[in-house]
């Protein structure tokens, strides 16, 4: 589904991703952990080219993102993204937030987009908030709307960039619940998070990143219980 080969990313002189190689299968839930500054968010943002890549290749469903002829907007419709800061559109109601891209990008009729939007809001438990503005929602509610908005494009892949890091602790659970639900439905997911519980419970595989590399990867139970690399051990001893 996703294939990353020798991916490099620099910001000026700063080399954030040194060499990333990874392959992600359909329906797999991959959790990316690591200390801040390890490049995990940058890695995620390279997967839909929100960050231009400096070297190497990213393939989504065998389509090379940086190849000539690749329509990146087309690719992005198949790759949903959820941000730490939600990034809802404050000038639109919750429902309009969700309807916007199906209507503008997929050219759906209003009625079809509205039905889709309301169904998704029901799915994330916010049906009754359809006509309010994002301002009046709590953090957890905002993030659930953001997930619904990404799902409205019916993507096959979802990227989560620290989706619970900006939330008050009591709201983390409701967002993780929605994500678990998605994982169960077979969504291919790449999740950058500090929620080790989520990684253990939902992840099929955990990538530990540090210093611009994937230092270690394994199924969650192995990686958490029997880390092989020193850096992994040091990191886990701090967060577990």
């Amino acid at each position: 589904m996703i294939k990353v080969e020798r991916l490099k990313k620099s910001f000026g002189d700063l080399e954030v991703l040194k060499e990333i190689n990874v392959e992600i299968k359909p329906q797999e839930v991959v959790v990316v952990i690591g200390p801040s500054g390890s490049g995990k968010s940058t890695f995620l943002r390279c997967l839909n080219l929100l960050e231009s890549i400096t070297g190497g290749k990213v393939m989504i469903k065998d389509q090379d993102l940086t190849a000539k002829g690749t329509n990146i907007n087309q690719v992005r419709t198949n790759v949903g993204m959820v941000f730490q800061q939600f990034n809802l559109f404050p000038h639109k109601t919750v429902l309009e937030n969700i309807m916007m891209s199906p209507m503008k990008v997929r050219k759906w009729q209003r009625k079809q987009a509205e039905e889709k939007g309301l169904a998704l809001l029901r799915k994330v438990g916010l049906y009754e908030k359809a006509h309010v503005y994002p301002d009046s929602l709590s953090g957890g509610q905002k993030q659930r709307v953001a997930i619904a908005r990404a799902l409205a494009m019916e993507p096959e892949i979802m990227l989560f960039d620290e989706p619970t890091s900006a939330l008050d602790p009591e709201m983390v659970g409701e967002v993780l619940e929605v994500m678990k639900e998605l994982a169960k439905e077979g969504m291919t997911m790449v999740v950058v998070t500090h929620e080790m519980g989520f990684a253990k419970e939902v992840g099929d595989r955990v990538l530990f990143m540090d210093g611009g590399y994937i230092v270690e990867e394994n199924v969650p139970i192995e990686l958490f219980e029997h880390p092989k690399e020193e850096r992994t051990k040091a990191f886990l001893s701090k967060v577990l």
């Binding site: 929100l50 907007n73 992005r76 809802l88 916007m100 503008k104 990008v105």
Partner: protein, 219 residues
């Protein structure tokens, strides 16, 4: 020097009012044309391609860095005769105000656009929107709201600055003030009346803008 002569004011009042209409019309034209051109220039000003960005930056530098007075003379006596056969001071005034406002408004648009959190653009692009779609449906609607106060301010400045049109005999408010002064050699009657009319215009505009801002706030 006698007492304040209301006779002069009364005699010139119709001309002052006609001039005030021209003042309002020319500033309105300036702000409208300036807004349209300024929008494109403001967007071009933050283009990633230097060959789009640099001409706009220098246009803005030139028009913000030189006096409007000089611009009016250059445009009326230099530029307009080059491109039009007959020279009309009012046309010159409107062209100058528009070109000048374009530079300031471009900066207002740029600041408005750049004040929107970049996460908004990223979210829109991650949903598959093109840059243009994201600008149109996500960034600009939010930016416009923030641009209203500085745009209103620019309108007020433009309305006052249009008085420089008197120097090229564009028949706006100040032109008639100078005419009255020239006929009667009086200072207070024409200039004070003109000043009061400008004040009425700018204050009305201020109240109107405050009203619009309040309406947008609650919307």
């Amino acid at each position: 020097m006698g007492v304040f002569s209301f006779e002069i004011v009364r005699e010139y009042l119709p001309f002052f009012l006609k001039g005030a209409m021209v003042t309002v019309g020319a500033s309105l034209a300036g702000i409208l044309i300036g807004s349209i051109l300024g929008l494109f220039m403001g967007i071009g000003r933050i283009s990633k391609s230097w060959w789009i960005r640099y001409p706009f930056i220098w246009y803005i530098n030139a028009f913000r860095g030189t006096p409007l007075f000089v611009q009016i003379l250059l445009i009326h006596f230099g530029l307009i005769p080059l491109i039009m056969e007959s020279v009309n001071p009012l046309v010159s005034l409107i062209v100058t105000l528009s070109l000048n406002a374009t530079a300031y408004i471009a900066e207002i648009f740029r600041a408005g656009i750049q004040s929107i959190d970049r996460g908004q653009m990223e979210a829109a692009r991650s949903l598959g929107m093109t840059h243009v779609q994201a600008m149109r449906h996500v960034i600009l609607p939010q930016a416009f709201k923030r641009m209203i106060p500085p745009l209103g301010n620019e309108f007020i400045v433009l309305l006052k600055d249009s008085s420089l049109g008197a120097i090229i005999a564009a028949p706006e408010l100040m032109y008639w003030g100078r005419a009255a002064q020239g006929q009667y050699y009086r200072v207070w009657e024409p200039y004070l009346t003109v000043a009061i009319i400008y004040l009425i215009l700018t204050l009305s505009l201020t109240y109107l803008l405050n009203y619009i801002e309040r309406r947008l706030d609650t919307a």
